[in-house]
C-alpha cells in the first residue's frame, strides 16, 4: 500500500530522516515508536506531502504523493490541532469533512452514533466551538473525523497522548477494530510502548531518523522494546 524508497529529509547538515526502504502492505496496522526527534512526525508529514523530501519518494497505493493529489480521496490523518478548524462546532466539522469525502449528513450521523461512548457526552451538542474545547476533547474530534468516509489509509500521530485512561482504552478498541478490517491500513505513532504493542501488528522503531528495529508483534515484543529503549541492547 505504502512504499518509501531512499527517503531522506535534511535540514541543513542535519539528517532527520533516512529510510532506505519501507513497505507497508495493505491492511496492516503499523506502529511507529521512537524518542523525541526520532523522525516520526517527519515521516507522517512526508506521507501527507506536507513537507518535501530531500531525496527519495513515497508512493501510496501506487500514487506518488509528491506529484499527484490522487492519494487524498483514500487517505485521512490527524497529526495535531492544525487539522482542526477552530471556529466550527464539532458537528459542523464532522459534516465538513463528510462533505469533502462525499458522505451525506446521515452517513456522518450514523458513523458518529458508533462513538457515543468514546465522546463521553462531551463533544456533541455542547454549544462550543472546537477552539474552546479541552486538548483531550479536541483530539477525540480529530481522531473520529479521520474515520469518516471509509478511508483506506488512516494516519494518527500520537493519538493516545492527552487522553484520559478510559478514552485510551476505548481508542485502542476502536483502532483494533479498524485494523481488523482487511482493507484499512492504520499508521499509529506513540511514545507509549504498551499501547502500540497492543494495537499494532508490526512495530518499527526509529532512532535519529533511521529504522533500527522492524518487528512483527508477538507477546515478547513489549519486553524487547523496553530493553531497547532502556539502552540495554546494542
Amino acid at each position: 500500500m505504502i512504499h518509501a524508497e531512499n527517503l531522506t529529509k535534511k535540514y541543513g547538515s542535519q539528517t532527520v530522516l533516512d529510510i532506505e526502504s519501507l513497505e507497508i502492505p495493505k491492511g496492516q496496522s503499523f506502529g511507529l515508536v521512537g524518542n523525541n526527534g526520532a523522525g516520526k512526525t517527519t515521516l507522517f508529514s512526508l506521507l501527507l506531502d506536507l513537507i518535501e523530501p530531500t531525496t527519495g519518494s513515497i508512493t501510496s497505493n501506487g500514487v506518488p504523493v509528491r506529484n499527484s493529489e490522487a492519494w487524498k480521496p483514500f487517505t485521512s490523518a490527524f497529526i495535531d490541532e492544525t487539522f482542526l478548524i477552530g471556529y466550527l462546532t464539532p458537528e459542523e466539522y464532522f459534516y465538513f469533512i463528510g462533505e469533502l469525502r462525499g458522505q451525506s449528513r446521515a452517513d456522518v450521523d450514523a458513523l458518529l452514533s458508533g462513538f457515543t461512548d468514546f465522546f463521553h457526552g462531551e463533544i456533541l451538542g455542547q454549544k462550543k466551538y472546537l477552539r474552546d474545547l479541552s486538548k483531550g476533547n479536541q483530539k477525540k474530534v480529530g481522531i473520529v473525523a479521520t474515520f469518516i468516509g471509509s478511508p483506506e489509509v488512516v494516519i494518527l500521530d500520537e493519538p493516545f497522548a492527552n487522553l484520559d485512561p478510559t478514552t485510551q482504552i476505548r481508542l485502542k478498541k476502536i483502532i483494533r477494530e479498524l485494523a481488523a478490517q482487511r482493507e484499512v491500513t492504520v499508521l499509529v505513532s506513540s511514545h507509549d510502548l504498551i499501547h502500540v504493542t497492543e494495537v499494532c501488528q508490526r512495530i518499527v522503531v526509529l532512532e535519529k531518523g533511521k529504522i533500527v528495529r522492524d518487528i512483527e508483534t508477538t507477546p515478547e515484543t513489549l519486553q524487547e522494546l523496553e530493553l531497547f529503549f532502556a539502552g540495554e541492547t546494542p
Binding site: K72, E99, L100, K127
Partner: protein, 490 residues
C-alpha cells in the same frame, strides 16, 4: 528582575517571525516610518502657524479648546488598536517572581507604546514653538507636563476600560453626542473643559492635578490587574457560545458550497475577519470622494476608474489579498484532506466574485451622481472580476503571514497584517487599469477608455482556465514554504 524582563522583551521583538523580512523591505519600511515622522513633526511645528493664520485666536487657547476631543480620540484609538499587556504574562505566573513586579513590568511596558510616544511629535514641537514665540516658560512647561500626564492617564484608563465593555460604548456615545451638539451649536462642552486646560497654563502649579490623576489611574490599573491575575479571571480568553448552522441552501453547489459555507462561518465567527469585511463595506463609500466633486484633484476621469475599482473591490482588496492566510491555522488539514487545489482556489475565487457582485449592486446609489459614475463602478467591477481576482489569488501565494483569527487588535496597525509586500502587490492591480483607460481615452475618447478597461476584464475572464492552471502551479510550488511559515505562530 527587570533586567530579565527587558531581555525577554528584546528577544520577543527581534526574533518575531515578521521581523525577519528581506532587507530591502526593511529599508522601505524605514523610509515609510521616517516619512510619517517628518509629516507629524511638521504638523506639530506648523500647527501654531496654521491656527494663527486662520484667525481663530491665540493658538494655545484654540488647542486647549479642542484638547478634550483630542484626548477622547486618543482613548478611542487606543481601545481599538492598542494591544493589552496581559498576553505574555501566563508563562511568568508560576515562576519565583512576585506578582507585583510582573504587573508592574507589564504595565510599565505599555508606557513605551507607540500610542504614547506618537503624541510627542505634536506636543514637543508645539511647545517649542510657543517658547520661541515668547510665551512664559514656566507656564508652557507646566502646560506641557499636564498634557503629558493626561496622555499617560489615557494609557492606563484604556487598560481598565478594555476589561469592561460596559463603560466604553456609553462613554463614546455620550461624547459623540456632545460633538454633534457642539457642531450644531446647541451646547458647547469645550466651554467647560477649555478653562480646565487653560488653568494648567495660567496657574502652573495646577499641573500637579493631572499627575495626581495619573497616579490614581496607575494605581487603579495596578491593583485591578494584581487582583485579577488568575487564568480564569483577568487572563482568561473570552469564550462564545457555539451554534451549529447548516446553510443547506448552499448544498446545491456541491464542493464549492461546502467551502462557501465554511468561509461564511469563518467570516461570521472570527473577530479579525469580521473587522475586515466591515472595512470592505466602507470601501463602497470611498467613491463619494471622487464623484461628489468634493476634491478637485479627483475630478479627472482617470480617477473615476480608480474609484470604480475600489468601490466594487473592497472585499477583494481587504479579504481577498490574504486568501490562503485566512486558513492558516488549519492549512495542513486543507492540504491533506480530500481537496484538490483547483477546487480550493476556485471556491475562494467565487467568494470574491460574489462579494464583488454584491458590492456593485449596493453601489447602485452612485446613479444619483449620474450614469457615468455608476458606469465607472461597473467597469471597475468587470476589471476586478476579470483581472484583479486572479492577481489577488496569485499574490496570496507569496504572502505567508499567518493570521490569528481570534484577535482583532492587529487588523490595522500590526505589521503582521499590513506589510509592504501586500502594498506593492496592490500597485499593478490599480495602475494597469488606469493606464489602459488613459491610453483609450487619450487616443479614442472617454467612452472608449471605459470600454477598453471592461474589455481587458472580459478578456481575463475568458482565460480563466489557463490562469487558474498557472496559479495552481504557483501554489503547489509554494505549498511547503507556506506550510512552514504558517507553523510559526506570530
Amino acid at each position: 528582575m527587570f533586567k530579565h524582563f527587558i531581555r525577554l522583551q528584546w528577544k520577543a521583538f527581534f526574533r518575531s517571525a515578521s521581523f525577519k523580512t528581506e532587507i530591502w523591505f526593511k529599508i522601505l519600511m524605514a523610509i515609510g516610518a521616517l516619512y510619517f515622522i517628518l509629516v507629524f513633526l511638521s504638523l506639530g511645528v506648523g500647527a501654531y502657524f496654521i491656527i494663527e493664520k486662520s484667525g481663530l485666536g491665540d493658538p494655545l487657547r484654540v488647542v486647549n479648546q479642542f484638547l478634550i476631543y483630542y484626548l477622547v480620540a486618543d482613548l478611542y484609538m487606543r481601545y481599538m488598536l492598542q494591544k493589552m499587556p496581559v498576553l505574555n504574562i501566563r508563562p511568568l505566573l508560576y515562576l519565583p517572581v512576585s506578582k507585583a513586579s510582573v504587573v508592574r513590568f507589564s504595565l510599565g511596558k505599555t508606557v513605551l507604546s507607540f500610542f504614547n510616544i506618537s503624541h510627542a511629535f505634536f506636543f514637543v514641537p508645539f511647545s517649542v514653538v510657543l517658547l520661541i514665540k515668547g510665551y512664559p516658560a514656566a507656564s508652557v512647561i507646566s502646560w506641557h507636563l499636564a498634557c503629558l500626564a493626561l496622555i499617560f492617564t489615557n494609557n492606563f484608563l484604556n487598560i481598565l476600560i478594555n476589561n469592561v465593555d460596559r463603560i466604553f460604548y456609553p462613554l463614546i456615545a455620550v461624547l459623540a453626542l456632545l460633538g454633534i451638539a457642539q457642531y450644531y451649536g446647541w451646547f458647547d462642552v469645550t466651554a467647560y473643559t477649555a478653562p480646565v486646560f487653560d488653568l494648567f497654563y495660567d496657574q502652573p502649579w495646577t499641573a500637579v492635578l493631572p499627575w495626581l490623576l495619573l497616579g490614581a489611574a496607575m494605581w487603579g490599573a495596578f491593583s485591578y490587574f494584581k487582583k485579577h491575575m488568575y487564568l480564569d479571571a483577568g487572563l482568561a480568553t473570552k469564550k462564545s457560545v457555539g451554534k451549529t448552522e447548516d446553510y443547506t441552501w448552499l448544498n446545491r453547489f456541491g464542493n464549492l458550497g461546502t467551502f462557501l459555507k465554511n468561509d461564511i462561518k469563518l467570516i461570521k465567527r472570527n473577530k479579525r475577519s469580521k473587522t475586515t469585511v466591515l472595512m470592505s463595506v466602507l470601501f463602497i463609500f470611498y467613491g463619494l470622494l471622487f464623484f461628489t466633486g468634493g476634491l478637485e484633484v479627483y475630478e479627472s476621469p482617470v480617477w473615476r476608474i480608480f474609484a470604480g475599482i475600489f468601490v466594487s473591490g473592497g472585499f477583494l482588496f481587504s479579504f481577498g489579498q490574504y486568501v490562503p492566510s485566512w486558513d492558516s491555522s488549519y492549512y495542513p488539514l486543507m492540504m491533506s484532506q480530500n481537496i484538490q487545489y483547483r477546487e480550493y482556489l476556485s471556491s475562494k475565487w467565487w467568494l470574491i466574485v460574489i462579494a464583488t457582485g454584491i458590492s456593485t449592486v449596493l453601489a447602485a446609489f452612485y446613479l444619483y451622481f449620474g450614469w457615468e459614475a455608476y458606469l465607472a463602478v461597473l467597469v471597475g467591477a468587470v476589471y476586478n472580476i476579470g483581472i484583479n481576482s486572479y492577481l489577488v489569488l496569485w499574490g496570496g501565494a507569496y504572502i505567508k503571514t499567518p493570521i490569528d483569527l481570534t484577535s482583532n487588535k492587529k487588523a490595522f496597525g500590526d505589521k503582521q497584517a499590513f506589510n509592504v509586500k501586500t502594498l506593492l502587490l496592490t500597485i499593478p492591480k490599480l495602475l494597469l487599469p488606469l493606464l489602459v483607460y488613459w491610453l483609450g481615452a487619450f487616443f479614442l475618447g472617454d467612452t472608449a477608455g471605459f470600454i477598453l478597461v471592461a474589455l481587458v476584464g472580459v478578456l481575463g475572464f475568458a482565460f480563466k482556465e489557463r490562469v487558474f492552471r498557472m496559479i495552481e502551479k504557483i501554489y503547489k510550488k509554494e505549498k511547503y514554504k507556506t506550510l512552514l511559515a504558517y507553523k510559526q505562530k506570530a
